[in-house]
């Protein structure tokens, strides 16, 4: 059932991998540090992200769509592959759990205040497991449809807020020192580094050679959307007020008023966002399952999807039950972990194989 994913579809998958939680969590974190200079921070993060995408793309180009861990196993030792696999599995389980938690927290904060968290987690999990069982190709297809809906929501958003926007609220730029901006761009960089998920999607790509392009395209779109969201939010609220609200993007939507009839649109946008976050979570669950499959070299991953989902749900319910903990992780811990797994680890692998190749070449020359 698992088919191949086209290049533009894959780029859209990258968008969904990053954007849904980024657009909710990031503006407040960036805004707290950088205020009016937030767009600069996003730019910086995107530049770093592009570097990561280049790195990931190069690896995929080397292994040409062979499953990542299998490739490591073949290149070095199977033991190393398993070890790396276990680490990565832990990373993906953690990340999926935080995504699920962010999802649940947000829905609980904004829409369903009294619904028990267990019920919501279970429901989301069951649906996502179904999505993953349908295969990544289906996810990619639905994803492209959902992204198409931007064409409806962006004009609505812009039109609705046109009267509230004030360009002067973006001034003054360059108010903050480079170090502050760098600090502000750390967290978004960790989001951008999620482009590394391509490593696990590579076997399903139609043309793995274009992985770099996929990464760039995806990041470019994320960049545009983040800039759009950040700039419009600042134009409406100004940087100071931005820091006050937990979900600035949706607060801006809340003040949209078209005539006397269309108002309180936040629920509409939240509904749309729910679609996107479902896709994001399913992509991560898919990557987790894929990682599991490659680590333990199982042929069919289908029986394990449920089990892995359960682990994620339990972690979500019990490890991340404290929202403050999640916030601190997002602000501080996340960057280190993400850089480690999404950047340093692939980089090390790339260097290792490069060395290996060089050695082999030398050997080849000697003999």
């Amino acid at each position: 059932m698992n088919g191949k994913i086209g290049t533009s579809q894959a780029a859209m998958l990258v968008v969904t991998t990053i954007l849904p939680t980024a657009i909710v969590v990031l503006p407040e974190i960036i805004g707290t540090y950088a205020e009016q200079d937030s767009p600069l921070a996003i730019m910086m993060a995107t530049l770093l992200g592009v570097g990561i995408a280049a790195l990931i793309g190069t690896i995929i180009r080397y292994n040409n769509g062979v499953p990542f861990l299998d490739w490591i196993g073949a290149r070095s030792s199977p033991l190393l592959a398993t070890l790396l696999g276990l680490l990565l599995l832990q990373f993906y389980l953690d990340t999926s759990a935080t995504i699920l938690r962010e999802f649940v927290n947000f829905v609980k904060d904004t829409v369903l205040l009294n619904t028990p968290i267990t019920v919501m987690t279970t429901l989301i999990l069951v649906i996502t497991i179904y999505m993953v069982r349908q295969g990544i190709e289906c996810i990619a297809r639905v994803n492209s449809l959902v992204i198409l809906l931007f064409l409806f929501f962006i004009p609505l958003y812009t039109f609705g807020l046109a009267g509230e926007m004030n360009v002067h609220r973006l001034l003054p730029i360059f108010d903050h020192s480079l170090s502050t901006i760098t600090l502000a761009s750390l967290t978004p960089t960790s989001w951008m580094s999620e482009v590394a998920i391509l490593l696990f999607l590579a076997p399903y790509l139609k043309s793995p050679q274009k992985a770099r392009l996929i990464g760039y395209m995806g990041l470019l779109f994320v960049f545009l959307m983040m800039m759009f969201s950040m700039i419009t939010t600042m134009m409406v609220f100004g940087p100071q007020y931005l820091k006050l609200t937990a979900y600035p993007g949706f607060s801006t939507v809340g003040i949209i008023q078209i005539g006397r009839f269309v108002e309180n649109l936040d629920i509409l946008f939240i509904s749309y966002w729910v679609l996107a976050i479902y896709l994001k979570f399913s992509i991560f669950l898919f990557a987790t399952v894929e990682c599991f499959k490659q680590t333990f070299r199982v042929k069919s991953s289908r029986p394990f999807i449920g089990a892995l989902g359960l682990v994620i749900a339990l972690e979500c319910l019990f490890t991340w039950s404290d929202p403050a903990k999640l916030n601190i992780y997002n602000k501080e811990g996340r960057f280190l972990v993400f850089i480690l797994f999404n950047v340093l680890l692939p980089l090390a692998v790339l260097l290792l194989t490069g060395l290996h190749q060089a050695k082999n070449k030398r050997k080849g020359c000697e003999t």
Binding site: D109, T110, V111, L112, L113, N114, T115, P116, V119, T122, L123, V126, H168, L171, P172, D175, F237, G238, Q240, Y241, L244, T245, S251, G254, I255, Q257, E263, N264
Partner: protein, 413 residues
């Protein structure tokens, strides 16, 4: 194999069953419409060291849906009911409404929020925080201040609309669209203003024209209510506390400085040289204000540039409008009038020492180094006191209406 698969399938179905049944049995967040007390407005007072929250709850069966129409529905029952409850915190007060009300309070459709002067003097932070935090509280409610007891205002019935909260919203929206005496202030705008560099905000006052409160449905049967709701002065907040009032005229000047004019009516003297008699009306249709801070060695000079254009609607003196000179003479008169408004307003603002003009923001935007220094020294208050404004007004009369000569000049002929 196949049977095993079948078994697994069945097992899975069995596992899904409890989820489905919990979903179906549990409606954790649903609120039936008939159990909702739809609040259309709220008021907060500080009395006896306690919060007093007053809520205006719409009575759906009285046909209060008609925003414009007065007809329909039984007129015997009041279109809304009010509840006033006290508590140590605002939420406690809100929750306590459940002691007296048969319906769960639902504030998402609340349109206005009236703060008693007592609250404003004490500080509004807690209320703003509530509106930002609470999920069903909208931060787009219009904020007003009432001298004395704010809850009283909510009791007043209105004519031409049954939903008083929505009626007051219409009032302020129309006012700021057609008259521009006061800016309309929504809760998030208040929060933005207070959290900005200036740290000051304004809130329009709402009051009753008469002494009595019209709170009986039979009383609205009269054509001319002895007591109506009216917008009064403009309260000035600094930090979170109210520091004073601006009169209507001063508020009008402030709207010029803060560039919030949408449309305004200016009465002026048509022949300023000969008489001070105010005998002309001008409708300002377009107006834009730009403010440029200039550092003059030891203090800031604010260069306030106002450009506007509009149409003459009323002339009480003899005047030939084909004459360019008489038009520029009138333009000059209007400009002077506006200048006077601004000066008057600025003096009071300076006295109150609250930067409702948003000069701090302007300075931050154009001169961030000096702003950093000011912020470091925490000297904004003194800097603000030293600010000098240089208003330049340029008003253009674009059209004269439908007649080219004033009626008085024809009569004289």
């Amino acid at each position: 194999m196949k049977e095993q698969k079948h078994c697994i399938h069945k097992l899975r179905c069995l596992l899904l069953l409890p989820l489905l049944s919990t979903l179906l049995s549990g409606c954790w967040d649903d609120r039936e419409l008939s159990e909702l007390g739809i609040a259309s407005g709220s008021a907060y007072d500080w009395e006896d060291n306690q919060w007093k929250a007053t809520y205006q709850i719409i009575n759906p069966s009285s046909g209060a849906s008609g925003m414009g129409g007065g007809g329909g529905g039984s007129s015997s029952s009041p279109p809304f009911l009010t509840f006033a409850v006290k508590g140590k915190t605002i939420i406690e007060a809100i929750q306590r409404t459940n002691l007296t009300s048969v319906r769960e309070l639902f504030t998402s459709h609340s349109r206005i929020s009236i703060l008693g002067e007592s609250v404003a003097r004490r500080g509004v932070n807690q209320i703003i925080d509530l509106f930002l935090r609470k999920q069903d509280a909208r931060d787009t409610v219009y904020v007003f201040i009432a001298k004395g007891n704010a809850g009283r205002i909510l009791d007043q019935l209105m004519q031409l609309t049954k939903n008083q909260g929505a009626g007051i919203q219409l009032m302020i929206e129309q006012e700021s669209k057609l008259l521009s005496y006061y800016p309309s202030v929504r809760m998030f705008e208040l929060a933005m203003a207070l959290s900005s560099e200036s740290g000051s905000a304004v809130i329009p006052e709402i009051r009753l024209t008469g002494k009595d409160i019209m709170d009986e449905t039979s009383e609205t049967g009269r054509t001319d209510l002895p007591s109506r709701l009216v917008l009064g002065r403009l309260a000035v907040l600094k930090g979170e506390k109210m520091v004073g009032w601006l009169s209507q005229k001063q508020a009008f000047g402030l709207t010029f400085i803060t560039s919030k004019i949408k449309m305004a009516n200016i009465s002026f003297a048509t022949h300023p040289q000969t008489s001070d008699k105010i005998d002309g009306s001008f409708i300002l249709q377009k107006s834009a204000t730009t403010v440029h801070p200039i550092w003059a060695k030891d203090h800031f000079i604010m260069d306030v540039n106002i450009k506007g254009s509009g149409v003459i609607t009323e002339i009480g003196s003899a005047m030939d409008l084909n004459d360019r000179a008489s038009i520029s003479q009138m333009e000059k008169s209007i400009e002077n009038h506006v200048l006077e408004l601004i000066e008057n307003s600025w003096q009071t603002v300076k006295q109150l020492n609250a930067d409702v003009t948003g000069f701090a923001v302007k300075i931050h935007r154009s001169d961030r180094k000096r702003w950093k220094q000011i912020k470091k020294d925490k000297s904004w208050d003194t800097v603000f006191q030293q600010i000098e404004i240089r208003p330049h007004v340029s008003i253009k009369i674009e059209r004269m209406g439908l007649s080219n000569k004033s009626f008085k000049s024809i009569e004289q002929d």
